[in-house]
Symmetry: C2
Subunit: 252 residues, 2 copies
Amino acid sequence: MAGDDEGAKTEPAHDRSLHQRIRADLEERILSGAWSPGHRIPFEHELMAQYGCARMTVNRVLSGLVEAGLIERRRRAGSFVRRPAGQSAVLRIPDVKAEVLSRGETYGYELISGTRRKATRDDRARIAVAAGAPLLALLCRHVADGRPYALEDRLIALDSVPEAADADFATELPGTWLLGHVPWHEAEHNISAAPADARTAARLDVPVGTACLVMERRTWRSGQPITAVRLWYPGDRQKLVARFTPSTAAGR
Amino acid sequence: MAGDDEGAKTEPAHDRSLHQRIRADLEERILSGAWSPGHRIPFEHELMAQYGCARMTVNRVLSGLVEAGLIERRRRAGSFVRRPAGQSAVLRIPDVKAEVLSRGETYGYELISGTRRKATRDDRARIAVAAGAPLLALLCRHVADGRPYALEDRLIALDSVPEAADADFATELPGTWLLGHVPWHEAEHNISAAPADARTAARLDVPVGTACLVMERRTWRSGQPITAVRLWYPGDRQKLVARFTPSTAAGR
DNA sequence: AAGTGGTCTAGACCACACC
DNA sequence: GTGTGGTCTAGACCACTTA
C-alpha cells in the first residue's frame, strides 16, 4: 500500500524524512572514513531491506550522493566511495557594499569616471567584444569608514546591455544595477596579487607598490559578454574566505 | 502501464532522459531571463500535463532546481524563480604538483625543514590545538621548470594524525600524503595578498616586498584540527581561477 | 476548505556491463 | 544470461499555507 512507510512513521526519529536520514547515515559513514575511498557501499536492494523502504527512496539518496561527488556508481558493479579529487571550495564573493557593511563599517561610493568608447585592443583583451564595439568604462572607488577600500575598474558591453548607457552610475552601484538588469549570468574569476601602480596607489591612498589582491571577474550570458571588472583591494585590508564541506561541493 | 513514457521514447530527442530534458527546458527559461526572478513557474500538475509524465518526474526536476538554488518553492503558493544572491563561485584549488604539470612545466619539490615541536602561541593562532600539543612543522618549496613556484609552510596536528610523525616528507608531498591518510575533511581557505618578507623572498628567489598571493588553508575533521598550511605564490606567476555557473553553484 | 508541495510505494522496462 | 543501476509510473498520504 502506498504511504505506509513503516520505517518512517513508527519511529519519528527527529522529524527528518526517511531519505534525509538515510542520506545522513551514509554521509556519516563516508566522511568519518568508516567507508574509505574505493569501498563498495551496499546495493540498492540491500539498503531497501536495511531501511525497509522502496527502491526509489534509496535511489534518490544515492543519486544525491553522486551529485555531491561523494560516490560514483557503475552498472553491474555497484556504488563506490570516491576519492576526493583535489581541493574545491565554494568561494562566496559578496558585493563590495555588503562586504563593508558586514564588517560593521560605514560604506561610501564614488564614481571617479565613466566614459563611453569603442573597444580598444586593450579592452578586447579583457572583454571579448568585436573590435570597435561600444563599451562603457567605469572607474569607481568603494570607501569604508572614510578610507578607500577597493578600486573598481569596469567595462560594460553596451551591445549586450544597451540600457546601461542611461543608468546613473554616480548614485547606483554598477554591480547592483547589472544584477537587477541581467539577473543570471555565468562568471569567471581570476584572483592574483599585484603591486599597486602609481595611479592605483594614489586612488587607494596607499604607498606605491603595496601588495594588492586583484580580483578580475568576467561575466556573460549565453556567450554574450556582459561585463569585465577588476577590483583592487589593498592586501592587508581584504581577505577572501572560502569554506569547503565535502557534502556540498563536488570534487569533480 | 509503467515505462510507456510517451514523450521519452516516441521522440528519442537527443538521447537525454525525460527529466534531463525538462530540467534543461526550465533552466533555459530561467537563465535566459524569459522567466525573471519572482516569476511563478507552472505548478507540478501543469508540467505533468505539458510533458505528459508522472508527477514524480517533474517533482524530481523541481527538487533539483531548488538544490541548485535556481528556484524556491512554497506550499500552496507555487514555485518561484529566485533572485541570484551575491556572487558565489566554485573555486578549484588543485594540489600544487598537478597545477604545475598542467601548465606544461616540470615539477620539483624540496623539503626545506621539518621539525617536531610543541605548539607555541603563534602556532595556536594558526591551528586550534591545545597548548603544548605536538605539532609537525614543515617548510617546503615547490619548483616549476627549475624556478621556485610556491613556498609551503605547514603545521600538522600530531594528536589528530599521529602517523604523520613517521612519514617521509622529503620524498612525499605533505598534501598528497594527508589526502591519502585523512581522505575527507572540511576546509577553510583564506586568500590575501602580502609583500614577501626577507626570508620568504629569498626562498622564492624574488625581490623583497614582491606582491604574493597567500593562500591559507585550515582543515579539520569532525572538529579535530588536522593541518594548517600557508602557500606563498609570487603574484605574477599564479592565478586562482574560479568559475560560476548558476545551475551548479547555489547562491544561498 | 482547498490546493500546493513533500514524501513514499510497489511495481515496471530498459541499458549496460560482466560473465 | 544475469544483476546492477537509470528511469518512469500511477497512485497515495501527509503537512502546510492561504483563503
